[in-house]
């Protein structure tokens, strides 16, 4: 999938992944890759500024913990983050429904 398509929804995806359990950056990216079967082909480094932005906005919180002999920054979703996730999820569902309605049945797109 084109990176710009995921970039617009990266914050929603990150909130969604972290709503199911706290984790550090590499763990989050591994979960993202596993769950989407590698569909999202984005620079892994771009996840960190997105996590930091979400933390700046109060939607995530983080603390540093030693994990497997290394200091890791563990992110978790805050209550405002859960509220924002619900709202973003609704917006995204509305968008997907609207785009699908506009496109019409998939069969109509098949070449004759």
């Amino acid at each position: 999938m084109r990176p710009d398509l995921i970039r617009g929804h990266l914050e929603l995806v990150l909130l969604g992944i972290l709503s199911q359990g706290a984790g550090h950056g590499y763990e989050i990216i591994t979960r993202l890759r596993d769950r989407t079967d590698g569909t999202f082909d984005l620079n892994e480094g771009s996840v960190y500024p997105a996590l930091h932005r979400l933390e700046d906005a109060g939607l995530l919180a983080s603390d540093w913990q030693p994990v497997a002999g290394r200091r890791r920054r563990i992110y978790r979703v805050t209550n405002p983050g859960l509220t924002a996730l619900a709202a973003k999820r609704r917006e995204f569902s509305t968008l997907v429904s609207a785009v699908e309605s506009a496109l019409g049945p998939a069969a109509a797109l098949s070449p004759a």
Binding site: H24, G25, Y26, I29, N43, E44, G45, S46, Y48, P49, A50, H52, R53, D56, W64, A68, G69, R70, R71, R72, R73
Partner: protein
Amino acid sequence: MSSAEGGAPDSPIESYLDELVTRMPAEQPRALRQLLAETEAHLRDDAARAVAEGASLHDAEADAVRRFGPVPDMVGAEQRRFATPVSTVTRQLFSTALLLGSIGAITVGLSGLIAEVFQQAAGARALIDVRPGQVLSGSDCARWLAADPTAHDCRAAAIHDWVGEVVIYRVAFGLLGVAALAVFLLLRRRWTRQRSWSMLPPLVSDTIATTAFATAGIWTLGTGIDTLAVGPGTGYGQWLSAAPVALAAAMFFGIRLVRDLRHQPA
């Protein structure tokens, strides 16, 4: 520490981290330290996974770095986090313009008072005069003479009118400046209470003020001296009354500017 922990001179991870340190702005040391720690942990984890799957350490590190993305992209995205919002910049520009504008207007008002002193000391023609070759129209003369029936000719009536404009308009402008300064102080109090008070950095505002006041001071001083020495020898007061306050303001902001420059990191 994993077996993938590099440190070799040609280690792609080490080179990547070096570049990250070099490119990240030094003004955000904590953000840099944390980003560096997160990036290193990520790259080492990724390389260790690939090594465990059979890749060579160098190839594993190179792949981890490639997947992570270019350093400038990472640094650019981080820097955008610390960029000042447009609303804050607008507020900074407004508050700084209001302060400098009100100080500028007050200096104009003070120059009006000095102009009055010029008039009392050296006469109205020292302050302002009809320029050589300047034609005074009949309708203007009628208006000026009507306003000043004691004037013995049109020229005297015109000078009387212009002196009033020089002094009164400037003082009125100065009073507007005082009102603007009062508005500035009120806004500062209110916005400080709302924790939204912000002005342009002193280095910027002091540079603007020093440049503006120095330009005004030098120009009015030069024009005044020229009018006195080379020109008709009258009408110099309108310039020389403005020069001292403009130069005093330039000196005030210039001293602040030097102090700002001396206290900023080398």
